[in-house]
Amino acid sequence: MPLRIGVLGTGFAGSMHAHSALAIDGARVVAVAAVPLDDATALANECGARVATAEEICAADDIDLVVVATPTYLHAEHAIAAARAGKHVFCEKPLARTLADAEAMVRAADEARVTLAVGHVVRFFPEYRQAKELLDAGKLGRPAIVTMTRGNFAVGSARGWYLDEDKSGGVVLDLMLHDLDTVRWWFGEPSRIYARRFKGNEGLEYALATIRYDERPIVQIEASWAEHSGFRTGFELRGDRGMLVHDSRAASPIALQSPSGPAGPAMMATPTLHETPYLVQLRDLFARIARGEQPLVDGHEGLRSLALGLAVIRSADTGEVVSWKVPA
């Protein structure tokens, strides 16, 4: 029997996950929800799915797994409803806006004995995986100093809820959280955190954080909603035996220009991988569920990365160094 999926949310993430699920054998998207409901029609039609409300999807008998890709502050409500109805949950990152919400989600999933997976998709990006493999194999020696950067245009200018700190957590929980999760994945739990950030007009936001490990390394992370030319990522990973450098701007195997300007996607597809990391992430999750295994990033792990993001915000707000304590 195929894994039957309900998708909550039709923004970038919801749409990406629905299309990814379509490409996976043994998975079927059966319902799509959005607010307002009409916003779900297009994606539902593409998936051959019905339009339904989030409440209907969480309660439906013919759904095994709910993809929670709603605005961050609604994750808890939706994930808990789905878990209590006995459905597995794949929740976009950040797991929640608050630690209390995240804890309630983890508890609900544990009590219902369903899988709660968190979409820390960078763990499926090949350049970050390869770095992890080289690190673990000792090819770089002991890590010394690491800089990571992630930027995008001011996304809040397109989707208003991002502008509300209480709903989204801003650029730290949106972008920096990817790299915070990555440093935990690469290096384990840090020792202390220092951060600064500003919020400007029209969704402009920018943050710098220094993450210090007891011994080593020192990590600096930049997160920007002031990258007006669009999405980019990068890292420099310096160990005492070598350095790895990644710059997404220098890593595109195809570039298109036209007399009428950058009309690329409309003129031709510009794939950079046969399968997106989002698709690989979902396929991995579905396979683990089928085998009765834990997901790669479960609710507990997502909660710890969220807590690190919240610690960054606390440091930025107070201007003080924050000691890191792993949530129990």
Binding site: R142, P143, A144, I145, T147, R192, Y194, A195, R196, F198, G200, N201, L204, Y206, L208, T210, R212, R216, P217, I218, Q220, E222, S224, A226, E227, H228, E236, R238, D240, G242, M243, G319, E320, V321
Partner: protein, 332 residues
């Protein structure tokens, strides 16, 4: 054209000394009066390589010069500067201006009382890209500047740079000040608070080789400086200087030494970047001597050197105490 200004070079200890000697030889407004060095063998070799006079004594060099450029190790900056001031000779001093704020202040005071000028060697201000950015900031094209992420990572320079007694510190003493000065100059603002993480991770030194400073500016912006000796020995160039400037109306990336040919060299088995951008050292030295000749204040003063040094000093204290440190606290 007025007479040439007579300029001598004190010490060949610094990695920048060859470029400075080339500049003193090349600039037509300068009469290169020679080199003095405490290390006689090094000084004689340098004098002969640059076809200039060897001065066995500092006084001999000072006596025949209107100005000197100091390219010694960091801790000797003060005594050379004080000797020059006493001899009524202007000073262009390598960065960092000194290894303590007390030394830097003493240098500033000595030059002021002697009626000579003290300049700090910050060539980044001479970069056409940085100058274009400065003009854009001044014109308001970027709106209010809210954040700057600066990096000045390099290869480990070796020799005395890793010796605390001669350098006053490690990578943070070596590399913080270039970026700190550029940030001050661009924003027209002063640093108010510094948090730093430092570590000795790569070369087994007793000074730090890695560091990130995160700083507040008085006007409300913040900035970070990566001052690490993080470039591997296989890196295709010595290092670099970058500035990522985020304004309310625009974001700018500057990579000061980006103008370079990539040389894949089978004869050495190495790949090297060969810079072809403007000679920043020559422009910096010209700016200094032209101001002296015209009787104007030099473009980058001893005060500028002190302000940049304060950031490094506050960073050391922050790394030690694991707390942010106010610049006013290190002045007290």
């Amino acid at each position: 054209m007025t007479e040439r200004i007579r300029v001598g070079l004190v010490s060949f200890a610094h990695v920048h000394a060859p470029a400075l000697a080339n500049t003193l030889s090349a600039l037509e407004q300068i009469e290169f009066t020679g080199i003095h060095d405490d290390d006689e063998a090094r000084g004689r070799a340098a004098s002969s390589a640059h076809r200039t006079r060897w001065h066995p004594t500092l006084d001999g060099l000072l006596g025949s010069s209107d100005a000197i450029v100091i390219a010694s190790n960091n801790v000797d900056h003060r005594r050379y500067t004080e000797a020059a001031a006493k001899a009524r000779v202007h000073v262009l001093c390598e960065k960092p201006l000194a290894t303590t704020t007390a030394d830097a202040k003493a240098m500033i005071d000595a030059c002021r009382s002697a009626g000579v000028q003290l300049g700090t060697a910050f060539p980044v201000r001479s970069s056409p890209a940085v100058m274009a950015l400065k003009a854009a900031v001044a014109a308001g094209s970027l709106g209010l500047i809210r954040a700057v992420r600066a990096t000045n990572p390099g290869q480990y320079p070796g020799s005395w740079f890793g010796d605390r007694r001669q350098a006053g510190g490690g990578a943070a003493m070596d590399h913080t000040v270039h970026a700190a000065d550029a940030i001050r100059w661009l924003t027209g603002d002063e640093f108010s608070r510094v948090q730093a993480e430092l570590g000795s991770f790569i070369y087994g030194l007793d000074v730090e080789d890695c560091g990130v400073m995160t700083c507040d500016l008085e006007g409300g912006a913040f900035a970070s400086i990566d001052c690490s000796w993080s470039r591997p020995q296989t890196f295709p160039t010595w290092g670099g200087v970058t500035l990522h400037v985020v304004g309310e109306k625009g974001t700018v990336d500057v990579d000061v030494f980006r103008q370079a040919l990539t040389h894949y060299d089978d004869t050495t088995g190495r790949t090297r970047l060969l810079g072809w951008g403007d000679d920043l050292t020559a422009r910096m030295v010209a700016g200094f001597v032209d101001a002296i000749r015209a009787g104007r204040p030099v473009p980058i003063s001893g005060e500028d050197g002190l302000r940049a040094l304060e950031v490094a000093i506050a960073g050391y204290r922050s790394a030690e105490t694991k707390r942010p440190v106010a610049i006013s606290d290190i002045r007290a």
